[in-house]
């Protein structure tokens, strides 16, 4: 078991509010880790801190043995952490295929000069990337939409495209922020199988999700947060039946009823 991503005493304050309080999070290579907790628990903030979009107040983020705390987001992305955003963020105004090709940004081997002069090498690389992009789109079941615009796609497909863009950057760790939110059961079934397949590609996945059906069916391990702190962690059955977790979601006394 090797740790690929780790936070040590990670803390984030917004003015007086402590959004994340001294969080120690360990992500093992190849696992699917679920991060759950009630609204406002600080889950998305943790993603923001890991990926560099929010400045860390104190504590460290270690990725693959390197300290990446407060690095610029693009450097963290190049190091190998990709992120699919909660609000199904895509590149509007470009085709679905181009969206994925932008994601391949860091895997260009051809130099800028080669690319500008469209040398043979650059052109064949371009062809390879298009083939790879279509492969990723096929993998997520949206290849038939390659020439459409993301803003015209239904919600589920937009979410899938978000994952496709993130995958194109060939990450070691993928952070999925509420991938199944707002989906109907058949769409979220699709997402569940996608997440399983992403892991088969050798990508470690950390997922924030409210849909417990999705969480139970994809995650190897869960960490539950409340008020910016880690409440408990362990395998899904243990965490979801933990009295403190029920209390955090449903309020005091609910655990006894359940």
């Amino acid at each position: 078991m090797t740790l690929i991503l780790e936070t040590k005493a990670l803390t984030k304050r917004f003015g007086g509010l402590v959004a994340v309080n001294s969080l120690d999070l360990q992500v093992e290579q190849g696992e699917i880790l679920g991060l759950i907790g009630p609204n406002g628990a600080g889950k998305s903030t943790v993603f923001g801190l890991i990926s560099g979009f929010l400045p860390v107040t104190s504590g460290t983020v270690v990725f693959d043995g390197h300290d990446i705390t407060n690095h610029h987001p693009y450097k963290i992305a190049r190091a190998g952490i990709a992120r699919a955003f909660q609000q199904s963020l895509t590149f509007r105004g470009m085709t679905v295929l181009d969206n994925v090709l932008v994601g391949f940004h860091k895997s260009h081997d051809a130099s800028l000069t080669a690319s500008v002069f469209r040398t043979k090498g650059a052109r064949s690389e371009e062809k390879e990337l298009v083939a790879k992009a279509i492969e990723i789109l096929e993998f997520l079941g949206i290849a038939h939409l390659a020439n459409d615009r993301p803003e015209n796609l239904p919600h589920g497909h937009q979410k899938a495209l978000g994952v496709a863009i993130a995958l194109a950057s060939e990450p070691k760790v993928l952070l999925l922020d509420e991938p199944a939110t707002g989906m109907n059961p058949s769409e979220s079934d699709m997402m569940i199988s996608h997440i399983h397949q992403v892991r088969k590609r050798g990508v470690t996945v950390v997922v924030v999700e409210h849909d417990m059906r999705v969480v139970r069916s994809v995650c190897d391990r869960l960490v539950c947060m409340n008020f910016g702190e880690k409440l408990c962690e362990g395998d899904p059955d243990y965490v979801t039946s933990h009295p403190e977790v029920c209390e955090a979601y449903l309020g005091k006394g609910a655990a006894d009823v359940a």
Binding site: Y74, R78, M94, D98, V116, V130, H144, N147
Partner: protein, 642 residues
């Protein structure tokens, strides 16, 4: 410097600075509450001054009554423009850019209106407060004391209005979050109208108040550009920031006017703000504003494509052949001049579209056009070089300047970056007009023509046309090559969503600086030939109101079309004024109105609005011509079967 001189300059600076305080407060209020980039406010300052002059001198009203009437009139005028123009374009596709172009066109329009109404000569009003005190060698003019006291009173009233009254609180709520304000039952339309009235009333009031001290002339409208620096320094949405940095600007101007010249003062202030801004994007007091510019690159409804296949060379080839044949058919020298302008406008407009794809609203093209021209002119006239020796040097100089400026602007590509670019475009002509080296206002004269190079002979208009065309094609090829390369895709990603682009490893700063350098060096390249073509260049040729034409060119043609859009736009912008010649001196007013109408009613430009029809026509025409193109590889739909 004696202490008395020092204090005298401080005193004078505070009085001048109050103009900037009022203008910055008015603009800042409008920007932070309504989100409208109402740069037209500079003209409202002039309007306030002119109407006060008319009411006191021509109509014989008492001074304070005139100021009051002018204030109300400017406020009403602003509300009128808001209701007619801004309300329609402040939301929707490319709102930010459309507001910017429309408000600068309104400056042009109002300038013409003022000239028609009040004449071209500078005006003055006899001061109401005469006499002065002398304290320890410092002359304290009563008029200035009155201005300071009145200003403090007005600012206190404004503060009270914003913090205590119902509508003032409504304004602050809308500024904080318009959606929440709407949920709380704040009528945003009413708030917007009040904000515009208060903001522009303040500006008009400043015009009337300062008229007896500073005099009145039409260049007052350009003061708006310096005010942007005040806002960058003070922070968007910060009242106290506007006050402090406005007074600071006044003091800097007072000192530099005394020791060197006002132009140098503006340049110094610009440089200081640039350096400051590089390290602290939020300004002195405000927090960094939310970025309304994020996403300008996402042009919905346009046909941006970076995919292989589906290429057609027929249309560009036909245009090129036409462009080459044209001088052989047209011998009229005036029309040749217009064609040279069309080529310059088309390729410079293209640089705008090019920059916009990476999410930058480039406003500095005219300035770099001027830098290229002045660098060439100087190297040839004072350095004694030939054109072909001066050309590479001028391009290198422009490129280095573009990298420096790009470094500042791209560090925070966004609202402040755009404002800084606008100020740069107005500072460059000021610099040309200030220093002896550049020949001051009369410019550089006696720039020799281009020497013959081998079999290339220069002299006729047609030869210059071909040179400009060649440079334009080089520029176009550079831009297209970078657009087709992977840089192009990364720029598009940045322009569409910076956050998502960063999350896949795209460095926003580095990519934007490259983009900025390319799009700035191309106008400079055209400027080198233009200097020799004209033989004499003046600062006004490269001012911000010329620069706005490049953006209009890009917009009018259609922002989604990198090549065709600016060509159509350039033809439109060059020949529209020619067609309107019959209107005589009303021509600029009609042209400005037509452009504003295009901006209001054709958000995707001339080509964009006719896209479907053009495509159908093209398909019909090209049917027999089309090669068996390689269609985009779309795999068979496996999921779609169910």
């Amino acid at each position: 410097m004696t202490p008395s001189v020092f204090f005298q300059l401080i005193f004078n600076g505070i009085a001048i600075g109050l103009v900037y305080v009022f203008m910055a407060s008015g603009f800042n209020l409008i920007l932070s509450v309504t989100g409208i980039f109402f740069i037209t406010f500079g003209m409202f300052y002039a309007l306030g001054a002119y109407s006060t002059w008319w009411l006191t001198v021509q109509a014989g009203l008492p001074y304070f009554g005139s100021v009051a009437i002018s204030t109300v009139a400017t406020a009403a005028g602003g509300v009128f423009l808001y209701l007619v123009v801004m309300r329609k374009i402040r939301t929707g596709e490319q709102a930010m850019l459309r507001v910017l172009i429309a408000s600068i066109m309104l400056v042009t329009l109002l300038t013409q209106v003022v000239l028609h109404l009040f004449g071209t000569s500078p005006r003055g009003i006899t001061p109401i407060f005469k006499g002065h005190w002398k304290i320890a060698g410092v002359v304290i003019g009563l008029d200035r004391v009155a201005v300071i006291l009145i200003s403090v009173a007005i600012l206190l009233i404004l503060h009270f209005f914003l913090s205590r009254t119902r509508i003032g609180r409504g304004m602050r709520t809308v500024a904080f979050n318009p959606d929440v304000a709407a949920l709380l039952g704040v009528n945003s339309e009413k708030v917007f109208i009040t904000t515009i009235a208060v903001g522009l009333g303040l500006v008009g009031f400043a015009g009337g108040l300062m008229a007896p001290i500073l005099g009145i002339d039409i260049t007052m409208g350009s003061a708006g550009f310096m005010v942007l620096l005040v806002i960058i320094l003070g922070g968007v949405g910060s009242m106290i920031g506007s006050i402090m940095s406005g007074i600071l600007l006044g003091i800097v101007l007072a000192f530099s006017q005394f020791y060197v010249s006002a132009g140098v003062g503006q340049i110094i202030f610009f440089a200081v703000v640039g350096i400051f801004f590089f390290f602290r994007p939020g300004g002195l007091f405000g927090s960094p504003p939310p970025d309304p510019i994020d996403g300008v690159g996402s042009l919905t409804g346009s046909r941006i494509k970076s995919l292989p296949g589906r290429k057609t060379v027929i249309v560009p080839l036909a245009i090129l052949v036409l462009a080459i044949i044209l001088p052989q058919v047209v011998h009229n020298s005036y029309y040749m001049h217009l064609m040279i302008l069309v080529v310059i406008f088309a390729v410079t407009g293209m640089t705008f579209t090019f920059g916009m794809r990476s999410g930058m609203i480039n406003v500095a093209a005219a300035a770099f056009w001027g830098i290229g021209a002045y660098a060439t002119g100087l190297l040839m006239v004072k350095g004694g070089l030939t054109f072909w020796q001066a050309l590479p040097l001028a391009v290198i100089i422009s490129f280095v300047l573009a990298l420096i400026l790009g470094g500042v602007i791209c560090r925070f590509a966004g609202m402040s970056g755009m404002m800084f670019g606008i100020v740069f475009s107005s500072i460059v002509p000021v610099a040309f007009g200030t220093f002896e080296l550049f020949g001051k206002q009369s410019g550089l004269t006696g720039i020799p023509g281009i020497e013959n190079l081998g079999f290339l002979h220069f002299g006729s208009k047609a030869s210059y046309y071909y040179l400009v065309l060649a440079f334009a094609i080089i520029g176009m090829i550079i831009m297209l090559a970078f657009t087709k390369a992977w840089t192009g895709r990364s720029w598009l990603g940045l322009g569409s969503s910076q956050k998502l682009a960063e999350s896949v490893g795209i460095d926003p700063f580095g990519y934007r600086v490259i983009n900025f350098a390319i799009m700035s060096v191309i106008p400079a390249l055209l400027g080198t030939a233009y200097a020799c073509y004209l033989g004499a260049i003046q600062p006004v040729t490269f001012g911000p109101f010329i620069g706005i034409n490049f953006q209009i060119v890009a917009f009018v043609g259609g922002l989604g079309y990198l090549v065709a859009g600016p060509i159509v736009g350039a033809l439109f912008m060059t020949f529209l004024p020619e067609l309107l010649r019959v209107a005589g001196s009303y021509e600029p007013i009609i042209t400005a109105c037509i452009i504003i109408l295009v901006i209001m009613f054709m958000p995707s430009g001339i080509i964009g609005s006719q896209d479907a029809r053009l495509m159908a026509a093209w398909r019909w025409v090209s049917k027999p011509l089309r090669r068996a193109g390689t269609p985009v590889p779309v795999p068979v739909d496996r999921e779609g079967a169910k």
